[in-house]
Amino acid sequence: MLKLDNIRVFYHEVILALRQVSLEVPDGSIIALLGSNGAGKSTALKAISGLLITEAGAVSEGSIHFDGHRIDRMEPVNIVRLGIIQVMEGRRIFQHLTVEDNLKIGAYVRNDRAQIKKDLDLTYEYFPVLKDLRRQTAGFLSGGEQQMMVIGRGLMSRPKLMLLDEPSLGLAPVLVKEIFDIIKRINAEEGTSILLVEQNAKIALSIAHHGYVMETGRVVLEGSADMLQNNEDVKEFYLGLSTAGETKSYRDLKHYRRRKRWMA
C-alpha cells in the first residue's frame, strides 16, 4: 500500500509545486487523480517514482511510504525494484528499438527469465495488436499503439503499483475506451494497484474506486468514485455538465470554486 503524508515538493529548490499533499492507494485499488493543467498531478507521480531528481525536484517535507518502506529519498532504480512503475506522460518510447525490445526493457529489473517470457505472452494477450507489430521499429507505431506499448512495458516489470500519467492523451475516444478497459482488466486479473492521472475525469472515474482532485499543488477534494461523479463541482469543472443545464451566474460560485477559476 502506498501512502503520501503531507508532502511538499520544490523544483530547483524555489518553485513550489506541491504543498501538503496526502493520498493513499490501498492494495488492489484503482485511484484516480484529477485536476486541471499544472495542478501538480505529474509532480505527485514523479515524487512517488523518484523521478523528480531528473528535473531537479525534491520532496522537502512529509513522507512517502510503500509496503513499509520509506521511499521519498530512494533512487528511482530501487523504487522500481520495490514494485512501483511509472508510465510517464506523453508516451516515452524508445523509438529506434523494436516493439519487443521495448517490452523486454520493461523487465530490466527482473532476472527470472522463464517468468519474463510468460509475461511477454501475457502482455501480448492484453494488447494483441502489439504481437503483430513486435518486430516493428517502435517509432513507426501509431499514437494508440505506442500508448499500449508503454503500458505493456510497464506491465513487464510485474509491478505491484502502476502510476499511469494521462494514458488517454491525444487518443480517439474509441481507443481511450479500449485502453481503459484493459487497465481495468489488469487491475482485476493481476491485482495490480493503479494510480491514474487523467484529464478525462469521466472515464477515469468510471473505472476508479476512489478519487482525488488537485488544484494548484493541493488536494481539494477526495472521495469515492461515485461520490465524485455526483459532486456538483466535479460535474461542472471536469465533466462539463452543469446541474440545472443552465449557465449559472459567476456570483453564485462558492468561494473555493471562484478561487479555482482565478488560479486555473
Partner: protein
Amino acid sequence: MTDFLQLLLMGILVGGVYSQIAVGFVVIFKAGKTFNLAYGEMVMLGAYISWTAMDQWDLAKPVALLVTLVFAITLGLVVERLLLRRMTSAPIHTMIMLTLGLAGVLRGLVLVVWGPDPHAYPDIVPTGTVNLGDIMLPTNFIVSFFIAIAFVALLSLFFQYTKAGLSMRAASEDKVAAQSLGISVKRIYQLSWVTASIIAALGGILLAGISGVNLGLAFMGLMTLSVVILGGIDSILGALLAGILMGVATKMAEGYLERIESLKGIGEIFPMMLTLVVLLIRPHGLLGQKTVERV
C-alpha cells in the same frame, strides 16, 4: 593493377583496425551523448601498457593482455567518475575542452613514464607475409584485421541481444524513461566508458602490432574523429564502413597521389579532406541519425 589491388587490400586491413577503434567512440556517444577527445591517448596508453607488460616485465602474453584489460577498465571508471559524470548536460564546448585537457594530461604522463623514444612491439603473431599472386600481405595486418572485425561483430551482437546492450541503447534514446524502468543511468555511463576503454586498449595493441609503440599513436585520436564523423557519430555500422573507407583512401593517397612530387605528405591530411567533402554533402555523415541534435 597489382599495385591497385595491393593498396586496396592493405587499405582494407588497416581500415578494419580503424573501424574497431572508432567503434569505442561511438559507444560512448550512444550511451550518454558525450564524447571523448582523449580517445587517441587512451589507445596509446593501451599500447604502452601492453608493451611494458610483455617487453619490460616479461609477462606471458595472455597475462599481459589481462593486465592491460584491468588497466583499461580502471582508467575508464576513473575518467568517468572524476570528469564525465557531471558533464552529461554540459554544453558541447565544455565537453570538448574537458576531454582535450584530459588528452594533454594523459599524453604528458606517457612522456613522463616512457619518454619520447619509439619501441618495437613484440610479435604476437608469427611474422611473415601471405602471398596472393603478386600481392603480399603481412600476416600481422591480416590477423589484426580479423581480430578487429570479430570484435566489432561481437559488439554489435552485444548491443542487439544482451540485456546490458539493450539497456544502453534505451538509455541513449531517453534517459528519463530508462530510469523510470529501473535502469541506472550511472551504471550505463560506467559501462559505456569501460567498454570504450577496453576497445581503445585492444585497438592500441592491434595498432602497435602493426606500427610499433610510439607517441604517434595518439594521432589515432584525430583519425578516429574523422572516421567517426565520416560514418555518422552514432552508428556502429557507419564506423565500420567509414574505417575501411578511410583505410583504403589513405593507402590510395599514399600510393598514388604521393608519387606526384608536389603532393608529398598528402596521406596525412587526406582523411580530414575526405571527411570534409563527405560532410558537405551529408551533414550527418554516411549513416548518422538526423535526430541526434544535441551536439
